[in-house]
Symmetry: D2
Amino acid sequence: MNLLITGFEPFDSETVNSGYEAIKLLPDKILDYNIIKLELPVIFEDSIDILIKAIENFNPSIVLCIGQAGGQANIIPERVAINIDDARIPDNKGMQPVDVPIFKDGENAYFSKLPIKKIVENLKSENIPADISNSAGTYVCNHIMYGLLYFINKNKEYNSIIGGFIHVPYLETQVVNKPNTPSMTTEEICRALKISIETIIKEPVKNIDTKKKSYFFDFSV
Amino acid sequence: MNLLITGFEPFDSETVNSGYEAIKLLPDKILDYNIIKLELPVIFEDSIDILIKAIENFNPSIVLCIGQAGGQANIIPERVAINIDDARIPDNKGMQPVDVPIFKDGENAYFSKLPIKKIVENLKSENIPADISNSAGTYVCNHIMYGLLYFINKNKEYNSIIGGFIHVPYLETQVVNKPNTPSMTTEEICRALKISIETIIKEPVKNIDTKKKSYFFDFSV
Amino acid sequence: MNLLITGFEPFDSETVNSGYEAIKLLPDKILDYNIIKLELPVIFEDSIDILIKAIENFNPSIVLCIGQAGGQANIIPERVAINIDDARIPDNKGMQPVDVPIFKDGENAYFSKLPIKKIVENLKSENIPADISNSAGTYVCNHIMYGLLYFINKNKEYNSIIGGFIHVPYLETQVVNKPNTPSMTTEEICRALKISIETIIKEPVKNIDTKKKSYFFDFSV
Amino acid sequence: MNLLITGFEPFDSETVNSGYEAIKLLPDKILDYNIIKLELPVIFEDSIDILIKAIENFNPSIVLCIGQAGGQANIIPERVAINIDDARIPDNKGMQPVDVPIFKDGENAYFSKLPIKKIVENLKSENIPADISNSAGTYVCNHIMYGLLYFINKNKEYNSIIGGFIHVPYLETQVVNKPNTPSMTTEEICRALKISIETIIKEPVKNIDTKKKSYFFDFSV
C-alpha cells in the first residue's frame, strides 16, 4: 500500500523548507506502506493540480501534507482547512490572491481526516512537543490542505483516503540569524513524521463522515 | 435601528472580562443605531440560546459578539467559526466538551459577515493595533460565533443580519501579575469597538451569499 | 527643586520615540519639583556629554532617563547599567561600537539609585503593568544610564542625585504595522511616568552607598 | 589539564535539569582536557561553597557553569554577573533572598572570562542557534556565576582560570505539557556544550584584565 507524503519547496527568502528536508530522511517503507515523497511548489495555481496528479498516479490510501510553520515550537497537526486564499506575501510565482475562495462549490471548511489527537498524544509520549492547531492560515499550506480534502470529499472513488496536514517548526539552520526563534533538528522532525505516520497507519478508522465531519465526531450519541 | 453587542462574563479565574468592561463604556447610541448591550455566560449549553432570545427580542440588524483573547496585543476581528467544541478548561458550569460538533446539521464553518478587512484598516488608521485572525479557537468564543452565524444562515427572516465576532486583549488590571503580557486600557478597547461599529454601519453590504460564503468574496469574476 | 527627565530622539527607522512623546505630555511641575525635559540624541559619542551639561546647568536632585524598549509590554525600571557598548545596529551618527568599555576607570556596573521596587509596586497598584529589568542592553540606553551613574558616583558634589533609567513600551502608532506587538498609549505612558516621579520624590532615601551599592541593599545586617 | 563543568539539580517543579542532563552525555576527555562533571544544588547558601571546594580539589584551568533558561530557544553565553540575589521563587532549601548582595566586598558586576562572541560564532557555524545574553537573572544561576568570578578575581592563585556561564533551553521532555515553548534535544545541547568547550580551549587568551574587565575589551587603544 502507498502513503503519499508531500513537502513544499523553500519560500519567503528561505533556502530550505524544514518539512521537505525531514521528509527526505524518511525511509522508503514504514510498516507495510511504501512512502512516496513529493515536493510541491509554493504556488497557489499549480500545487493542487500536481498533488491530485500524484494521487491519481500512485493511488495512496494515506496522503499526508507537511508544511513549515516558522516561529512555532511544536509539531502541529492541523484540524481544519478553510475555503479562502488570502496571501500576505506573493507565492513563488509572484501571485498574491486576496480573499478568493479556493473552490466555489466547496464547503466553507473541511476537517482533517487524520487522527490528530492520537498523533499529538503519541508524539508527546515520545517526548516530542506537539499540539493541535485550529488554523493552517490562508496561504499555500491551507490551500493545499483544503484542495486535498475537497478532492477526497468530492470524489467517491477517493473517499476512503485518510488525508490531512501537519505543520513543523523551522530547522536550526533557518533560525541561527533570527532572534530567539524555536527550531528542531531535521532528524527530530523526521522522527516526529515517522511517529505520526505509524499512528495514522495503526489507528483504526472509525466514525468518518466523508462528506463534512471530522474524524473525531462521535455520531452514535 | 438596533445593534446588539455582546460580551462575556469573566472566566478562567479572571475577575473581569475585558470585552464586557469596554462594552459597558459604549454610548447608548452610535450614528443612528441603538446600542443594546448583553452579557453572556461562559457556558456552552446556555450561551447560544440566550443570544438568540435577545436577537428575537430586539430584532437587531447588526450583531457583534466580543470576546477576550488573553495574550494578544491587537484588536482581532475573526474571519471564521468552525463547527466544533473542544475545551481545554471547563466552562463556568463545569462542562468541558471534547470534539463535539456544535450543530449536527450545520456547515463545517461559517465566515464572518463583518467587513473585517475594513475594520482592521480603520482601526490602524486611528492608531489602534489590529489584525485579522483565522481562528476563534474551539472554546465558548468560537461556539457563540458559530451559533450566531448558524442562526443567521439557517433562518430566512434573519438572513440580512450583519453578524460576527471580534477578540480584544486583556485589560491592564488583568496583566499586572502576569509576566510581560500585552494589554489595552478599557477606554482604548472601547474606542476600538466604537470605530468597529461605525465601520460596520457605514460599510455598504455587498456580495453576501448568505448560505456559506464570506462577505468579501467577489462572485462577479 | 529640579527634576531632569530625558528621553531619546527616534532611532532604528522609527519616526517617534515613545519615551519622549510621553515626556512631552508631562506637566511642568509635579509636587514641588520643576520638571525639566531634555531630548537626547541616540548617539554614543554625544549623549553623555549633553546629559552632564544639563545636570551642571540645572543642578537637579533627581535625574530620570527614559528609553523605548520595543516589544516589551511593561513599564520597566532598570536595575543596573554595565560598562560596555556593544551595538547591533549603528547609532544615529552611524557609529557601532563593539565590546568597548564606556569609561575605562568606571566600575563594571552601577546599580540604579531609584526605588525600583517601590515604583513597580505603585504602578501595579494603579493598574499599570510594570516589572524590574536586570539588563538595559548594551546600546545607547545602557550607555546613558551607565554614564549618568558613573558621573553621580565619581563626583562628590553630585553624589546625592537620585538617578536611574526606566524603559517604556512602543506607542500604538509604532506597532500598527508590526505583527502582534505590545504597545501603550502616550497618555498611559505619561501617567506611568507621573506615578514613577511621585514615587521617587516621596520615597525616603535610605541606605544609599553612593560609591557602588544599590539603593535597596540593607547594610545594617 | 582539567575542565570543571557544572550543572544544576532540577528546580521549580521540574524533574530534570536540561543543563545537567546534557553534561552527563559529554565524554570524559575533550582535546587534552579531562572533563570533570559536577551537579550543584539550586541553593543560594551552599552552591558557591561546593563549587569552590571542587575548584580547590581539581585545580581546573577552565570552569564552565551551565544553567537552564526555560523559554529560551538559543544556547546563551552570559556576558555578566551582578552582585545581587533577588529570588522570585524559593530555592530548593526554601530560601528566597530579596535584594541581598552576594559578596559585600565584591564588585557590582564581573564580566565573563569566556570568549562569548567566538562561542556564539562557532555554534552558529555548526547550525546551533546561539546568542549573547546580558543578564543571567538574579536567581541561583547569576549567584553561581558571580561567585565563580568573584573567587577567580579575588584569589591570585586562581586568577588564570577561564570561567563563565552558559544558559541552555529546556529539553523536549520539559515542554510537552507547556504551551508552544522552545526546546532542544539532550543530544543537541550536549553537541553545543562540546563545541563551546572546544572553542574555550582553542581560543588564545588575550587582553584579560583579571580585576574587572571583560575578556573582549581591547586595551591597546
